[in-house]
């Protein structure tokens, strides 16, 4: 085939352009470490990567939710453990008060201890979070869990004013965990304590007083009911922590396998890339050499 002089130059230009384009692309890949610079480099892999990254984002969010939720549940647990201690203390006091040999003065002196325990439980039930929302009133977080009506008759002054609503938090695909517990039932115990206190502080009350004995017995029974109520809630919180930990481990495994997949299909194979780079470099250098040799060849030089 006849070759025109300008065709040789065009071929040379094309060759240089081709090599330089590939070198530039490889350099970009080496600089970012990503095999795919633009979706069109490999649309199918790009879609897979995008989906993996989305799943990874979701899992990260679930894990963040689990972390925050565990803290929240653990706070609830601390508050309720305090209530358990209070109830135990009240219970001890009530047992002592039930001893028929107590003098009137002895019985009166027990009042302040029981009052402080009653108020402690009341305050614990109305604990607020840092933003001022009640944490034990179900979904009625703007309302106190247990309210006191000083004008009502003794024995019905405390009432539960929250609800039993559950705040569900998504912690996995289709998995929710209740983030709150309520103290419904503690109001009854507070009323029982309140009744016992009012009997104990009556002037001249004696250990054998039947009204006192009845109120103490009710409060004692109430203590064990309240204790099992709160303890089972605390146990539930502990159980939830375990479930969340297991779930978090599962998420961590999924996350790791996603990361591995993302790096497997999205990361540049540096070995292959640098070998290719060498190849193009060599071709480019050879082209330069060839050009300098051939371009000096001309019949005009010898005639």
């Amino acid at each position: 085939m006849r070759i025109a002089s300008s065709q040789f130059e065009a071929t040379m230009n094309r060759g240089l352009e081709f090599n330089q384009e590939n070198i530039s692309k490889l350099t970009e890949q080496l600089a970012t470490g990503n095999a795919i610079q633009l979706p069109s480099d490999d649309p199918v892999t790009d879609v897979r990567l995008s989906r993996l990254e989305r799943e990874q984002d979701t899992v990260t969010q679930y894990r963040a939710n689990i972390g925050a939720l565990k803290t929240r549940l653990s706070n609830n647990e601390s508050y309720l453990t305090g209530v358990v201690n209070d109830i135990t203390q009240a219970s001890d006091q009530l047992v002592w008060a039930s001893d028929g040999s107590n003098s009137s003065a002895d019985l009166n002196s027990m009042v302040s201890t029981l009052q402080s325990v009653r108020d402690s439980i009341f305050f614990a039930a109305n604990t607020k979070d840092s933003e001022g929302h009640y944490i034990f009133s179900g979904n009625q977080t703007n309302t106190a869990a247990i309210t006191i009506d000083p004008n009502a008759a003794v024995g019905s002054r405390y009432s539960y004013t929250g609800d039993t609503g559950q705040q569900e938090v998504t912690v996995g695909n289709g998995i929710t965990q209740t983030a709150n517990v309520n103290v419904k039932g503690l109001d009854t115990y507070l009323n029982q304590l309140d009744t016992a206190i009012s009997e104990l502080q009556k002037p001249g009350v004696t250990g054998g007083d039947p009204a006192l004995a009845a109120s103490l017995k009710t409060a004692l029974d109430g203590s064990s009911t309240a204790l099992s109520l709160v303890s089972s809630t605390v146990a539930g919180l502990g159980g939830a922590q375990n479930v969340l930990s297991t779930l978090d481990t599962n998420h961590a495994n999924v996350s790791l396998s996603n990361e591995t997949a993302i790096s497997d299909i999205g990361q540049l194979d540096y070995g292959v890339a640098s070998t290719e780079l060498n190849g193009y470099n060599l071709a480019l250098q050879a082209s330069y050499k060839a050009y300098s040799k051939i371009s000096s060849l001309s019949l005009f030089n010898v005639i």
């Binding site: 006849r2 300008s6 065709q7 199918v44 879609v47 979701t58 679930y62 929302h133």
Partner: protein, 456 residues
């Protein structure tokens, strides 16, 4: 004494051939130059059995041109033009939409993450505020991507409008050259004019797909690959966008007849741009708008079904304005974080409605270009489709470039100058000239010998 005349004709022919060679050497690097050569023919003897002949004559200059190669050059340039012009637009769109931070996915993911985080503590103001911020951010992602498509529409239209004057100028110039070639062709070498005309046809072919037919008188008629005439002899058409109906319609005027053209099917840069505009860009823009519209509608319906943290009925989260200049999605400026309706039963900490909002991420929407997809996967599929479109265009561009290169190589193998070959011609015709001069000298010697017979 025909020897001396024969020698003279040989010397003159050698000069003509050297002249052609010098022109070739001078234009060795000229784009579109077709090399020429002298066609030497023997002059037949006028009579007598012993007369060898009347010398040599340059019967014409040969123009080394192959019309099949010309046609291949032109048709390859149309394909190249179509694919070259669209690639930068596709690449820009891919870069923006495929970006980890700027893409629609980033905005949508961030929003649903914020919702999920807020569900952990529904009454927390900072978490609610983060949802509002993420919603704003998502709206901005939609707006900026939508803006990129709008800017591309403007840019494509400007580029198409700029191509029309070039096309009109080229068609009229080709018609003028046709006329010149016709009028001077009987007594002048029109090779330079033909080179000029063929190069302009090549430029025209890059702008629109053309078919070229050569008439017996040497003129070339050019028509669009869809059949409508661009140049016929000395007559040229003109193209324009007729905007009287609202959307611009590509119209061709030839000899007082108007043809309506399908701007995405006429090939070349103009057709490539029209094809990209009508079959990729506008559908993509519409899909982004549909995405924004259907997502905001779903979110608004769900939020409006709930109750905010003050017990009031829920409010719409997003305003969707497909025709607004300020963006397709906006979060109402009056919306505050406590107005986000998470609750289904009216209690402040209930998250039932919020869970329903979060579930929207897995609901399906229907977009023009990718069909029925989930909200979370919509952008991935849009970008995937764009990537495939771009990949396809790149493959076609590579093919078009290869074919064009091949066509150029073929054309050059016939019409291009090879300097070594010209060097050989130079020496050959120089020798021919010198030989003829020698013949004159020999003839002269013979003449002298004859004369000396009488002189003694």
């Amino acid at each position: 004494m025909s020897i001396i005349n024969n020698a003279l004709s040989g010397a003159l022919a050698a000069q003509a051939a050297l002249n052609a060679t010098s022109q070739n050497v001078a234009n060795a690097q000229t784009d579109g130059y077709t090399r020429q050569g002298a066609l030497l023919t023997t002059v037949a003897p006028s009579g007598g059995l012993t007369n060898a002949g009347g010398g040599v004559q340059v019967s014409s200059l040969i123009r080394f041109s192959n019309d099949y190669q010309n046609q291949a050059l032109w048709s390859s340039n149309s394909d190249l033009g179509a694919k070259t012009q669209t690639q930068p637009y596709l690449t820009q769109m891919e870069q923006v939409m495929g970006d980890d931070k700027a893409g629609l996915s980033a905005g949508v993911d961030e929003f649903f993450s914020a919702l999920n985080a807020s569900a952990e503590d529904a009454t927390s103001s900072p978490l609610r505020q983060a949802v509002l911020t993420a919603a704003n951010d998502m709206a901005q992602h939609f707006n900026s991507i939508y803006d990129v498509t709008s800017n591309q529409v403007v840019s494509v239209n400007q580029q198409r409008s700029a191509a029309l004057p070039q096309i009109n100028q080229l068609t009229s110039s080709i018609a003028t050259l046709n006329q010149q070639i016709l009028s001077v062709g009987h007594n002048t070498n029109t090779s330079a004019l033909q080179d000029q005309r063929d190069q302009q046809i090549d430029q025209l072919a890059s702008l629109v797909g053309v078919q070229v037919t050569t008439q017996t008188d040497g003129t070339r008629d050019v028509s669009l690959s869809t059949g409508q005439p661009l140049v016929s002899g000395a007559l040229a058409s003109s193209m324009s966008f007729d905007s009287s109906s609202g959307t611009p319609v590509l119209t061709l005027n030839f000899a007082n007849t108007a043809f309506t053209l399908d701007d995405s099917k006429i090939g070349g840069q103009l057709g490539g741009l029209g094809d990209y505009l009508n079959n990729t860009l506008l559908p993509l823009q519409q899909s982004i708008s549909q995405f924004a519209g259907q997502l905001s509608s779903k979110l608004n319906t769900q939020f409006e079904a709930g109750t905010d943290s003050n017990g009031n009925p829920g409010q719409a989260l997003l305003q969707y304005n497909p025709d607004s200049g300020s963006g397709v999605l906006q979060v109402p400026t009056t919306l505050t974080s406590d107005q986000l309706a998470y609750s289904a039963d009216g209690t402040p900490a209930d998250t039932t409605n919020l869970q329903a909002v979060i579930a929207i991420n897995n609901q399906t929407i229907t977009l023009g270009t990718v069909g029925s997809v989930t909200v979370g996967d919509a952008d991935t599929q849009l970008v995937g489709k764009l990537g495939i479109d771009s990949q396809q265009n790149q493959a076609l561009l590579t093919t078009a470039t290869t074919i064009r290169n091949q066509a150029e190589d073929d054309w050059k193998s016939t019409s291009g100058v090879n300097s070594d070959e010209e060097a050989v011609n130079l020496v050959a015709y120089q020798n021919m000239y010198q030989a003829n001069m020698k013949v004159v000298a020999v003839a002269n010697t013979l003449f002298d010998a004859t004369l000396s017979m009488f002189g003694s």
